[in-house]
């Protein structure tokens, strides 16, 4: 447990655990809505925030949060009103955000491309205690939303039209998911970097759903996987000279592959054990719609 000694490592591990928990917790709703790449889009937009932070000499984390939240709201508005060319509008937003970030950071005196790289790919070892405070606050908000409103968010992500008829404030909940995703992106920015944020939101969920059949189990399992890979990746990068962000993402993909390979025999075993049950609940047993045979009316035999 030597890696627990240096203070920078304690901060890094704390940040990694928080991100490992909240990224899949938000990601599961995005995957459920089939918006798996939304996190990636928000990550691109957050770059403009980072650039703006350098230019105005304010904290890039808070600036990125502000810009990402605004960007996610704009994306949600595009989804409501711009039905036909929604994907084009989103593409504009993604690449505009990226280009804006590069431009702004080069305009500023303090920023350089080297600085930008630490946000693009994460730099766990430079997480400061102020960063930790920000990360803890934002992570608490994300957890509160994703756990406290899980039933509402599940309903909205499962079937928006139905959710509206149950009287749920669908637009408000959609905005909440978008804002929560934006906050998660900026929290995870220091750990895995903006370009790999989306992976941590999506891959643990994808891995978990290989072997689970309920939303609840998928949720818990993806958070466990997320935490495990972020911790393992951080510790690995302490002993080996590898970038933590990339290590974490590759580990997550490794878990996905392993669980996918495990899924097939598991499903087969499950099918075998439920064979006895399904034999009793076939439709034919409940409604004999086809009479066994029509009585011959004129004594004709075959």
């Amino acid at each position: 447990m030597e890696f627990l000694q240096p203070p920078f490592m304690q901060r890094a591990l704390l940040a990694a655990v928080l991100v490992g928990v909240i990224a899949p917790a938000v990601g599961i709703y995005l995957v459920q809505r089939r918006q798996a790449l939304m996190g990636d889009g928000i990550g691109h937009i957050a770059m403009t925030g980072v650039g703006l932070g350098f230019l105005l000499s304010t904290s890039p984390v808070w600036m990125a949060t502000a810009v990402a939240v605004v960007g996610s709201i704009v994306m949600e508005l595009v989804r409501w009103y711009g039905r036909t060319r929604g994907d084009i509008a989103l593409a504009m937003l993604f690449y505009g955000g990226m280009a804006g970030g590069v431009l702004l950071i080069n305009l500023s005196d303090t920023g350089s491309n080297a600085n930008l790289t630490s946000y693009l790919f994460g730099s766990l070892s430079t997480v400061s205690s102020e960063d930790i405070t920000a990360i803890c606050l934002l992570a608490a908000f994300v957890l509160l939303v994703t756990l406290g409103l899980r039933r509402q968010l599940f309903a909205v992500s499962q079937d928006e039209e139905f959710a509206r008829v149950t009287g749920l404030p669908v637009r408000a909940l959609n905005l909440l998911i978008a804002v929560t995703a934006a906050v998660t992106v900026t929290v995870a920015m220091r750990v895995v970097g903006l370009l790999l944020v989306s992976a941590l939101m999506v891959v643990p969920v994808a891995a978990a759903q290989q072997i689970s059949k309920s939303f609840k189990v998928t949720f818990v399992l993806s958070v466990v996987i997320g935490t495990a890979v972020t911790l393992a990746g951080t510790v690995t990068s302490y002993y080996q000279d590898v970038p933590p962000g990339a290590t974490i993402v590759l580990l997550a993909i490794g878990v996905f592959v392993v669980l996918t390979l495990l899924a097939t025999p598991l499903a087969r075993r499950r099918a075998r054990s439920s064979d006895t049950v399904s034999a009793e609940c076939t439709l034919e047993g409940e409604t004999p719609e086809v009479p066994a045979a029509r009585p011959a009316t004129n004594g004709v035999r075959v």
């Binding site: 089939r34 509206r164 008829v165 009287g167 999506v202 059949k213 309920s214 049950v277 034919e284």
Partner: protein, 260 residues
């Protein structure tokens, strides 16, 4: 056609002079539709006749360009007691991008009866009852993605029944459902109607539901062509095996995600 005299002061659904457009094309061109308590009304018509739009405008999914909607005597704009309505949207699947069990999906239909989304013991019992009503009790813990088309429809109907609604609105609940499952759905509906539920449903053909239906409203090109007892099916449409391909609503989730 004059509305039948009713002893009830407020009809459950009152659609007056409803007009709606999709893009620039008028889909509804002045529809009057009144459904009274305990009635089972079917909206019939060819593809593109506006029957789905009519039903979706009743619950505010399609904005009206003219006319008015009242639910239980309250204008739609001020209507808040959504727990009184059970809605079965036009879907071919109850699944989404993440696995979910039948119980989890049906529980979403109970949210309108809960405070802050907390499911109490009575709510869980209602969910289990709704699942039992559609004959899926022994599979409540199974993933919806492992179900057949007919079973998907049964899950969607159980979800609508979980709130124990007074009014059931169903958009093509029989689409893509084999005859055996249609019989089960008809039986479920019969029990609901017997307990006093009002039903408005969109149908492409009457099928096994025919004996249940009090009234048929036939639409053509966004206008009401017939309002009265259900017409007898004729020709090819009367055959039990008659199949059709129906268009899917634009709002139906499209499988575009990378991970599905």
């Amino acid at each position: 056609m004059p509305e039948p005299e009713s002893t009830q002061p407020d009809p459950v659904i009152a659609l007056r002079g409803a007009t709606a457009t999709l893009g620039a094309r008028p889909v509804l061109r002045g529809i009057d539709l009144t459904v009274h308590r305990g009635e089972v009304a079917a909206l019939l018509g060819a593809n593109g006749s506006g029957k789905s739009t009519a039903v979706r405008s009743v619950i505010g999914q399609v904005p009206l360009t003219g006319g008015s909607v009242e639910l239980f005597g309250t204008p739609l704009r001020r209507f808040r007691s959504w727990a009184r309505i059970g809605y079965v949207p036009q879907r071919t699947t109850a699944a989404s991008g993440v696995p979910a069990t039948i119980r989890e999906v049906v529980s979403a239909g109970r949210l309108s009866r809960t405070k802050l989304g907390l499911l109490r013991k009575a709510d869980r019992a209602a969910v289990d009852r709704a699942i039992a009503l559609v004959g899926l009790a022994d599979r409540a813990g199974d993933s919806v993605s492992a179900l057949s088309g007919g079973q998907h429809q049964r899950v969607l109907i159980a979800r609508a029944l979980a709130a124990e609604p007074e009014l059931l609105i169903m958009d093509e609940p029989m689409a893509g459902v084999d005859l055996a499952s249609q019989e089960i759905l008809a039986e479920t509906l019969r029990e609901q109607v017997a307990s006093g539920t009002t039903v408005l449903l969109v149908l492409h053909e009457l099928g096994p539901l025919e004996p249940l239906i009090d009234r048929a409203i036939v639409l053509r090109d966004g206008c009401v062509m017939h309002d009265g007892p259900p017409p007898k099916a004729v020709g090819q449409h009367a055959l039990p095996g008659h199949d059709h391909v129906h268009p899917h609503a634009a709002s139906e989730p499209v499988r575009t995600g990378l991970l599905t």
